[in-house]
Symmetry: C6
Subunit: 249 residues, 6 copies
């Protein structure tokens, strides 16, 4: 579903609630780039300590330090303060970009950026960052944390960030059979049409694994889907009436 | 459904969430005008870099640069700042209008305009722009981004922009059979009545393709429709009872 | 449902979302008054250019200019600024009222008035206007734009305007059989009781046509009604069991 | 359901949306008091012109002017400004109370009072008024306008007025069989328990007529009730199976 | 369900909408304490006049004046102003506590307190009061008025008062069979687990009577429950098929 | 489900409404650590008096004072004021950490911290605290109180605290068979995937007991689940038709 390569300079927003695996998806994207597609990657975080990220990655079998030593990967752990001025992106990322020549960059996260930027400027600052990366032909993956876990009304962002990205991937918690499962959908992909299925995904010991599309559910995006009961009933009914026919006949 | 020509000076609002294909629809409208109806077009964007627009269009097989060279099309990439003063529209668009004599203009987007205009002035500024274009007998297509992807309550805009347009087209994400599909509906068309169907549309490699109306669903506008189960059940039931009758008889 | 004549001095609020045909209903009310009931009419608009109104009316076969020449109709296109002071209504409307002696007046719209009046004064200003017209024994039709298209919670106005009108007509979009249809209901009629049906209406080439009441739907006012499935099922079931009885017998 | 007499000094809140017949109910309460229970009444209005009230009452066959001449009834039409100060109620109502010795008073409405009182003071002012009337042993009926017509969440007031009244009557619009009907319920009655049924009521040419309780509906308070379908289905099913039994037997 | 004695120093919050019987429950708690458990009680009210409370109690057969004369009960009718300062509780309640040595105290109500306390201080002031009473080993019953009557989303308080109480009792209006009935539930009881049933209760002429738990309903807490229809249907179906079997056999 | 040991330095958020047993779960976590895993524990509370905590624990058979005397446990009862400055955590917790060498710490609660911290700083302060504990290799359990008891939309926090924790446990009230029962789910566990079941839990006299996963319910997270009726119906239907077959045969 999410194939290895995005177009150069494309910006992808990954929106999900706490625990949806945004960080895992982002690391996997960079590790795959570095190890399978010869695309170096940079992970910019406003949120986590680098140690945490190394440790998380290890849990999935990803050796970030080795990638770092091989010059294929770098973590930039910074405060959003430093990024929020006209030349902030250049000052903060310029050297790394010149040295590593990355093709992939993760920004973790726009929601954190939003906390440090005066209301109304988030969009401007985020836009400047995206444009800076586009100009460098670096594809960016921008993480966005939805505060809402489940709910019948779903919005990506109330600060209007979605126009600036080429692709929007949503990660949703869905309650199915009294368990909290996970659905991944693509809400936007600039240009051609895309896979419309809402697919189950799991966070395995090797990273995110995207599974089969869901079937027979309505309302997955609300997090509170209902089994399409009639289908089941119809099946059951048909089989019962078959037996009846036989019994009568 | 959306036939080639709007009335001269008509203003059409196209409202949709991120990923609904508003930009594609808008470009298609201008390309069709320029190539099929001898109506030159202008694309005013507050949001995207021109390069992005050319690249997007190419993906659909639309050669905007050629149209530009033929004097049939132009992109104006500007900041909303410039437009927001009494003569802003004239200063910004006047020359282009005199040279290109466009009959179609796209404004991408009113939602972006809203970010730069003090609260309470959006409507006034947008109205002035629409009236300016009406006076020039240019039909305008105004894009509006709904932050909400799905939700049982649907509003076009909370700044009261809808009165000023002649037509409102809504583009909605709808979850059907565990997939994110798309519905297009016309909510307003000044004057005579219009097609009331909610139709499925797809973003193909040739642009937006409007398909058949949906049937057998309730609640499409909420994005979370339910199959009208009884219908199916009734069909099934009838067929079962037919068999039964035969079996008995 | 909405018979030709209102009581003298009555105030009617017509509330509906964008595209619900409020303007059409209002023009029709004035045209009918002027041509069938010998009641002259005035259309006060804060929103549209007169040209647009003439053109819209022509689309329905209504020749407003002729009515104007016959002294039966007038459009007053003004800014709400002018109306919002103690003698504003008198200054703005006084001459026209003395000359035309209208019995019907449309105000398009209270929602627009609201944009220009400091919060908290809307009600006062609107009340003064309604009382001014009542004192002149002119029945008024006040248009109100609901921002919400569909939604399970429905309010007329959050500025408490409804107490001041004698009648409230609501125009609602309703999604039925995957189409956007229209329902008209009377929520208030001062004094005696009134038609309680929610009726379908259409905007035809001759104006608004109010059709039969809806039947077999629940939740019309939410815009997202459900077919009362059991009824259908019951019918079907009965007919099936009839056949069965016959088959067995 | 609402018997003729309230306890002396009781305060009753009548809460309903526009068009629910609050004013009619209030007038009827006063007219009944004056003509059937020898309880004089005063109608305090912040909202309507007296003429409108006389006219409305006439429509129901109530001759308020005669009651006025007989010293049994009085309308006080005032601005809330006058009432909002420490001795406002005394100054405004004192003379009338001494002359007419009313046992019933209607205040139309607390919602209007709210418009003129600084936020946070409404409760205090309303409380002072209620206490003033209680001290005079006058039962009061306080009208409250809910902005919401229908909606799954129902609150009486967000300014905490309900604690101060002894009885709360709610008037709700309910959509039943595609018509807008009306339900009356008692939400509070200080002291003993009360009729819990939600009853249909109608506004007839003789005033409010409270009818039978609703049956077989769920969700009346939301305004969007659902027929308890299973009941019907069960009935139908039973009758069908009876026939079948006969047919087989 | 609510047995006679709470632990010494326990704080109980009773949350309910207007008309839910909070005051009745509170008076009953004090009267029971004074007459059955030798626990004197104090009723602190910010809301009602003492006369009203005596009268209400009389309606249930409770003679508060006699209890007062016997030194078992006292009403303190005060303004929240007096309580809101560091030693307010001591100054206001100290003498009474020393004289009456109460073991039970009712505070009617925290919602009223909230009106007089600057936003953000409610929690602090309420906490100070609760701690003051805990230190005196007086169990407190704190009344809280929910503005919402019914609604699918239910919160106790948005000012975070619930952490400070040991027990939370909720009183909810529930619409069942087209009547407004009442449900009582315990949402919190510090320490051991508690009765989880939602029970019907009634306000009788002798006070609150807690009845049997509800059964066969879903969604009671929303106030808009649905009968678990399938159960009924299943019963009916079974009985029908029994008859059929007999008929056939 | 929640096994004895968390990873060193892990931060766990426990989110639940009033009465969900957050404090019990937290105490149990510390008691288990001290008695079964040789991990000393500290309970930091902004909310309760230590006496209350000792008493609560006793109710579950936990002798906190003995643990304290054995140097395995400590309560720190403080005001959030003291913690909210750059070195607050060090000053407040430093000595205790050096003496007790705790591996587990409970913070009761982040919601309380939020009340004393200027809006916008909560996240920063909470983050600093979590990082301080991580640096000391102390696993932290952070309690968060959801104001909402039930509701179809569920969010953990609107101040974006969830990114900073490794694990999020949610405790939800669920209305099942007209009782208020309890569900525990894990919404996030950094690194590998986790138990996705929503499990029933009870507060017994020995502490929290996590029971079997729920089955046959949809919508548990909303607090207002629905039995998956069709299942039951299908079972019943099948069994009926079996009997029928036998009867006929």
């Amino acid at each position: 579903m999410l194939h290895g390569g995005f177009l150069e300079g494309d910006a992808v927003m990954v929106a999900g609630a706490a625990g949806s695996g945004k960080t895992t998806l982002a690391l996997q994207h960079l590790v795959n780039g570095a190890t399978k597609y010869e695309q170096n990657g940079v992970y910019v975080t406003f949120e986590q300590l680098p140690d945490q990220i190394y440790r998380d990655a290890e849990g999935f079998g990803w050796d970030l330090r080795r990638l770092e030593q091989e010059g294929k990967f770098q973590i930039i752990c910074t405060s959003p303060d430093l990024m929020v001025n006209k030349n902030g992106a250049e000052e903060l990322l310029g050297d790394t970009i010149r040295e590593l020549r990355p093709k992939r960059m993760v920004v973790d996260s726009l929601s954190h950026l939003q906390m440090f930027v005066p209301e109304g400027d988030v969009r401007k600052e985020a836009y400047r960052l995206v444009m800076f990366l586009k100009a460098k032909e670096i594809s960016s993956m921008l993480l966005w944390e939805n505060p809402q876990i489940i709910g019948s009304s779903y919005s990506i962002s109330d600060v209007g960030l979605s126009f600036m990205v080429d692709t929007i991937v949503t990660l949703r918690a869905v309650e199915i059979e009294s368990s909290m499962r996970r659905a991944l959908g693509i809400l936007k992909m600039r240009g051609s049409d895309h896979d419309k299925h809402l697919r189950e995904y799991e966070i395995t010991s090797h990273g995110i694994r995207v599974d089969q599309p869901f079937t027979q559910y309505e309302g997955l995006m609300s997090g509170n889907p209902r089994r399409v009961a009639s289908e089941k009933f119809v099946d059951m009914f048909r089989s019962v009436s078959e037996k009846k026919k036989n019994a009568v006949g």
